[in-house]
Subunit: 189 residues, 2 copies
């Protein structure tokens, strides 16, 4: 229950996904956008612009928790430093609003929404659209990834206990439910 | 001319060095400190605390420019992500105050203050103390490194033109001047 802000960090494209968590596993879309900064801008201008835009997102949507992709130094070296810089800004902004940040690995997020930790971008986008009842996959992938982060956070506690009990996992349940309503005509797959 | 804030970024220890730049190559110490956060704290608490402390530094010392160590993904993988996160916070804070950030590599800084791009910590600390007329090397090394960053920024423009002209570089001049007054009794070497 509450509002979850998912952030897929990046200097060039930063995915922002806000969902509302209802009873049980219910989640619904509140807001999704991708913030961009030009690679030709100075680093401080890029981080400053993203910081200002994120402050507006925090102020408008008043999330109860932030789900942020955990960045590893082993990832793409060309972009990882910028991604880590953006993550630092998100962490500091969240703390200033007394919000906890849940750091989620890409494989945790993929496993939560598709049931498979090595799912590709298309599978993740497809499931995000199904889970949130959207007519199309959010574009670009950063938008879908931000929503996937928020969804994985919403289902976090339940997933663990269900798996411990040997029951259907949150992801399996969502997948089953999503498949059941997969007649939506405009969904890109 | 003006106030230069040097920052040696890090999550566990963040070096802050403020110097005043006078006429010619003159620089003097205004403030030096090392901000620390415990590794046991949550990432958002660490970044948030550093962000708050850095805001105070900006507000109190009103720097005209920030000299920040440029972080490379090739550096120590265990600490590089935290360092990059802190750098992101510094960049965003500087931009909010309309300050430019000069990103300086460790070898640029070492070359500026010691004349040698591969100088060790002790050489850098010794020269920082000499240049600023301090009785002892600022400790820990993060403090000396932050001051070295600020000094290298102060001497930046002149260094390049002097080198272009084939004249004595700023570092060589400072080294010569520092050697000339190296009779200071309490300087650790």
């Amino acid at each position: 229950m509450g509002t979850i802000l998912g952030i897929d960090p990046g200097l060039t494209r930063l995915g922002v996904g806000v969902i509302a968590q209802g009873a049980g596993r219910r989640v619904s879309l509140v807001h999704v956008e991708v913030l961009r900064t030009p690679a030709t801008d100075r680093p401080e201008a890029r981080l400053g612009a993203l910081s200002n835009a994120l402050e507006r997102v925090f102020d408008i949507h008043k999330p109860d928790i932030v789900a942020l992709e955990r960045v590893f130094a082993q990832q793409n070296l060309r972009t990882v430093m910028g991604t880590a810089q953006v993550s630092g800004v998100v962490l500091a902004l969240a703390h200033q609003r007394s919000l906890a940040v849940s750091l989620r690995t890409p494989s945790e997020v993929k496993a939560a929404v598709t049931g498979y930790g090595r799912a590709d971008k298309k599978q993740v986008g497809t499931m995000v659209a199904k889970i949130l009842g959207l007519d199309a996959i959010p574009q670009p992938a950063d938008a879908a990834d931000a929503l996937a982060l928020a969804i994985s956070e919403a289902w976090r506690g339940g997933t663990t206990s269900a798996q411990t009990a040997g029951a259907e996992t949150a992801a399996q349940k969502a997948w089953r439910e999503a498949e059941a309503r997969a007649h939506r005509p405009k969904l890109k797959e």
